[in-house]
């Protein structure tokens, strides 16, 4: 029974790509988040439908060329915790 998450709607978010990072402006809160990879990629696959940590991991592995030996699932879990704590994603109750 995996926890499901939902990203903010794409119309509520403005992404601005900078060289080494991405700015994410979240309209409803007026907050700006400075995010590094893989956060924008996680948001992207969530907006395409991935909602559990394993679905997100699988989507990243499918759509991106990841570095050898990366502990993808644990990195995804750690980043989801951060994104949740800062309001970029919400938990979907079961």
């Amino acid at each position: 029974m995996s926890q499901q998450f939902k990203a903010a709607n794409s119309e509520d978010i403005i992404l601005h790509l900078l060289d080494m990072m991405t700015l994410v402006f979240h309209r409803p809160s007026g907050l700006t988040h400075i995010v590094a990879d893989p956060v924008p990629a996680i948001l992207e696959v969530m907006q395409d439908g991935a909602s559990t940590p394993s679905q997100i991991t699988a989507a990243l592995e499918k759509n991106f060329d990841l570095e050898e030996g990366a502990d993808v699932e644990n990195v995804v879990l750690a980043r989801l915790d951060e994104m949740y704590a800062l309001g970029l994603i919400e938990r979907v109750s079961e």
Partner: protein, 136 residues
Amino acid sequence: MTDQAAKNASQQETNGIVTRRRALMMGAVGASAVVSIKPALAQTAGSVLNCEIPIPGNHVSGGYIAPDGKIVPPDTPGAFAPQGRTYSGEEVKRAMRGSSLPGTSYEESQAYVNYVRRLQYGQSGFTCYASLQMPR
């Protein structure tokens, strides 16, 4: 794997069109990847701790606060009937370090502190609590 197969591992071929997948750095599990800029807190350092946290917030109607900070039905054994007052960020910060919130016993104060730790984005007091976590 042959050289050609290895090259193809990072490419996908659909209808004869080869798309190279973007490289994505995953980073380390423990390395933070998000920093937030909170315009409401662009104040003098002193006033950040004057922000307020109501205990409980207006999303709680009639529930009691359990020692672990969860909201439970009234009269749950061991849970505290909330006094329904507001504390400053400074008071909550001190309570998190061991002193008690004004007007509360140690156990009640710990329950309230745990309640604050469980606050979610969007609930009253969350932004004030989040600002307590930010390094100065």
